[in-house]
């Protein structure tokens, strides 16, 4: 699917420097990452036509990128606007959580989208 990009250290900066980008940091040995993959596919289909760059980084191949973005647990999804990190989600989240954040940024409300979500606790 062309809507979903596989990013490497060679094109990461270029692809995320302008506009809205959602990046899923994953690895093949992480089962929750595999569970999240269809959600990321769906987001790509829905948001790429709206100008959002949706990409995945295989941290096994791109450990440098994982370290550069302080990814310490996977899956981690980061949403960028013009190269700046707006929100970060550690652990699987339902599609609606990512979609709500993207909708807010696309509507111009970056502050409302800004959040860091870790696995929820009591």
């Amino acid at each position: 699917m062309e809507e979903l990009l596989h990013l490497t250290k060679d094109d990461f900066a270029e692809k995320t420097s302008a506009g809205v980008a959602l990046v899923d940091f994953w690895a093949g040995w992480c089962m929750p990452c595999k569970m999240l993959a269809p959600v990321i596919d769906e987001l790509a289909k829905e948001y790429a036509p709206r100008g959002v760059t949706v990409g995945k980084v295989d941290i096994d191949a791109e450990m440098e990128l994982a370290n550069a973005y302080a990814v310490m647990s996977i899956p981690t999804v980061i949403i960028f606007k013009d190269g700046e990190e707006i929100s970060r989600y550690v652990g699987v989240q339902p599609r609606e959580v990512y979609a709500a954040a993207l909708d807010k940024i696309l509507a111009g409300d970056v502050d409302a989208a800004a959040e860091t979500v870790s696995p929820v606790k009591d």
Binding site: M31, M72, I74, P119
Partner: protein, 267 residues
Amino acid sequence: MYDIVVIGSGPAGLSAAITGRMRGKNVAVVSNDRTATGLYKAAKIDNYPGMPAVSGAELLGKMTMHAAGIGAELIRGRVTAVLPMGQEFSVSYGSEMLSGRALILATGVAPASTFPGEERLLGSGVSYCATCDGMLYRGKKVCVVCHSPDAEEEAAFLESIGCEVVRLTTRKIVINGDMRVTSVTADGEEIPCEGVFILRPSIAPSTLVPGLEVSRGHIVVDRKMRTNIPGVFAAGDCAGAPYQVAKAVGEGQVAVLAAVEYLAGNQ
């Protein structure tokens, strides 16, 4: 794909599985090792109707055989994530995954409390899943808090991928670090490390299921054992007191009947 996936093989989960099977649903029960649970270790339970002075292990054994005999699929594994995906739920356990159209949480009593620094640094060096995050710490020094029978397996896995593992069994743990874990203080001794894997018997339901409503350590349910997430039900100790077998069994049944009703409504 199963009709109903149950997480937890205590009395609530097994009761749900049994009635679910009787309603013709295919049911999987995923559960971690339960030999360290309070119920399993109970020498004598005197208020389970029909079975005075039964041991917890015997009671669990009988319920398990009943569930297995009636065709529930019993799977051993530590559930690490649950992802609601519209009409189905994906559940990862170990390095496997399964899915169901409805989910019953029967995970038992929630862990008493988290360690200082644990919640703040969750995802920044604190992890509950060695198979998920272990590779990120290859060649690095990590602590493994062993508060579960399967913790040794996880610690051995980390060593096999080249982590330097410090095993901790104490409960006096403080996790240190500003933006990421830098050390763990165990029984007053500070151990520098880059990550800490905390292995309790189960992961808290609110951590497992994004968006699940919990209150004071219990999953919030209505009288049909429905949670705030459609298709997700909860039963037994995880849904509140009293922490009693008879109550858990009853709730497991109510939960699965509500799940069956939910499934019928979604045809």
